[in-house]
């Protein structure tokens, strides 16, 4: 078995246009025409409701209740940094990996409530396609190593897809596996290409396990 993982090393420059924001061709999500029309109507009526949105007229959150609760639970109350005073856009910046936008609106309470339920309406959200199983499978060792597979409930998601199929019971032949001799080989990355085929061939030999990765950690 040979599994080679390559880091996405090339850092891309910051986008200057939405046309720079390429879609993930394997994005395992589907949105029906009806849902898409609902989402378009929501954007038209309320703008972006995906982050933390606060209504200054009522002093209440429009959406982001659960997100903010988790932020408070983990890091406590945080200052809000003003990003765009004219558009009343702020950011909770905890560190480089943990930034949360805060949008301020000035709406009557009825509109606030309408936006709240709209933001959380599953009828205008996409849904996973069956491709999500392969999508997660491709990254599962990385996720499992980081304990993410369970923590963000991706294992549960896989189970949900499994639940639609009748359970097959596969026979396991219980026998002692061979005693293994483990060899750790480091290869300078520029030289790896020359011998990759040899290593792949070795990996096809029964009872030989080959796992390889770039040392990006």
């Amino acid at each position: 078995m040979s599994t080679r993982k390559k880091s996405s090393a090339s850092a891309r420059t910051a986008p200057v246009s939405t046309s720079d924001l390429a879609a993930d061709a394997r994005n395992p999500r589907f949105m029906s025409d009806v849902s898409a029309a609902g989402l378009a109507a929501s954007i038209e009526a309320f703008g972006d409701l995906s982050g933390i949105v606060w209504n200054k007229r009522t002093g209440q959150l429009v959406c982001g209740h659960q997100r903010l609760e988790q932020v408070h639970g983990k890091w406590g109350p945080q200052p809000i940094e003003i990003i765009d005073a004219d558009r009343e856009l702020g950011m909770i910046r905890i560190d480089d990996d943990h930034c949360f936008t805060v949008r301020v609106v000035d709406w009557p309470q009825e509109k606030q409530h309408a936006a709240n339920v709209t933001a959380n309406n599953p009828k205008i959200q996409g849904e996973f396609t069956g491709d999500v199983v392969a999508y997660i499978r491709d990254i599962e060792t990385l996720l499992a190593g980081a304990a993410l597979i369970d923590d963000v409930l991706l294992a549960d998601l896989l189970d949900d897809f499994a639940a639609n199929d009748p359970t097959q019971l596969i026979k396991i032949d219980v026998k002692p596996p061979p005693a293994m001799t483990w060899v750790l080989i480091g290869i300078a990355t520029p030289r790896f290409g020359r011998i990759a085929e040899t290593i792949d061939g070795l990996g096809r030999v029964p009872e030989i396990i080959i796992e390889s990765t770039l040392n990006d950690g």
Partner: protein, 204 residues
């Protein structure tokens, strides 16, 4: 669209148990020890479907109607008389499995859930496999030698070897009549084993 329900976890577990219960315990003689009973939902369902002789729920968390104790310690003691042992852990079942094997005195059906969570502990490697489990397949030194950021490459292949090694320990104490795994898309493995102890094995 696939609807998200709790049955995602439940169905493969139930189907596996149904298969073994029909095949080996259809006569109503099953004496069940439910080692990590949790909410008890699994056997609540199965007890509606099958006649069983007795049901003993154990969990480390207290709840009315079950014994609050570490079930691995119960299994490590000789003398229990159950013939269906359900080790539905959310993490690794191998501590229970190893404790149980020497004390099986009668043909017994065992259900194992091999998950990921709770495998981690103070002595665990960064991939959440305990170093002791790497050690039983002889991979501890190489695992420790791999830089932490790339250690996950050993995760999957080693996990399978670890499971195969643990399962094969049953052969020391008797015969594996049948072993089946519920095929799912999940990373969690659901395994059922029918064991027959050797003549010299412990008797309850």
């Amino acid at each position: 669209m696939v609807k998200k329900t709790d049955n995602g976890h439940l169905l493969p577990k139930l189907d596996l148990r149904r298969y073994f219960m029909r095949k080996y315990h259809a006569d109503g003689s099953a004496r069940v020890m439910d080692c990590c009973s949790g909410s008890g939902r699994l056997w609540f369902q199965l007890r509606r479907e099958f006649v069983i002789a007795s049901y003993w729920a154990i969990d480390v968390k207290p709840k009315a109607g079950r014994l609050k104790v570490d079930s691995a310690r119960v299994l490590a003691q000789p003398g229990w008389a159950e013939n269906v042992i359900d080790i539905d852990t959310y993490g690794s079942p191998w501590k229970h499995w190893a404790a149980m094997l020497p004390n099986i005195g009668i043909p017994t059906t065992v259900f194992l859930t091999v998950g990921r969570r709770n495998i981690a502990h103070a002595n665990a490697s960064p991939t959440n496999i305990p170093w002791a489990d790497y050690a039983i397949v002889g991979a501890e030194q190489v695992a420790r030698a791999i830089p932490p950021g790339t250690r996950h490459v050993l995760f999957r292949s080693t996990l399978e070897l670890i499971a195969a090694t643990h399962l094969s320990r049953a052969l020391i104490y008797g015969k594996v009549v049948e072993c089946r795994e519920a095929a799912t898309a999940s990373l969690t493995r659901y395994i059922g084993v029918r064991l027959e102890p050797s003549a010299s094995a412990a008797k309850p």
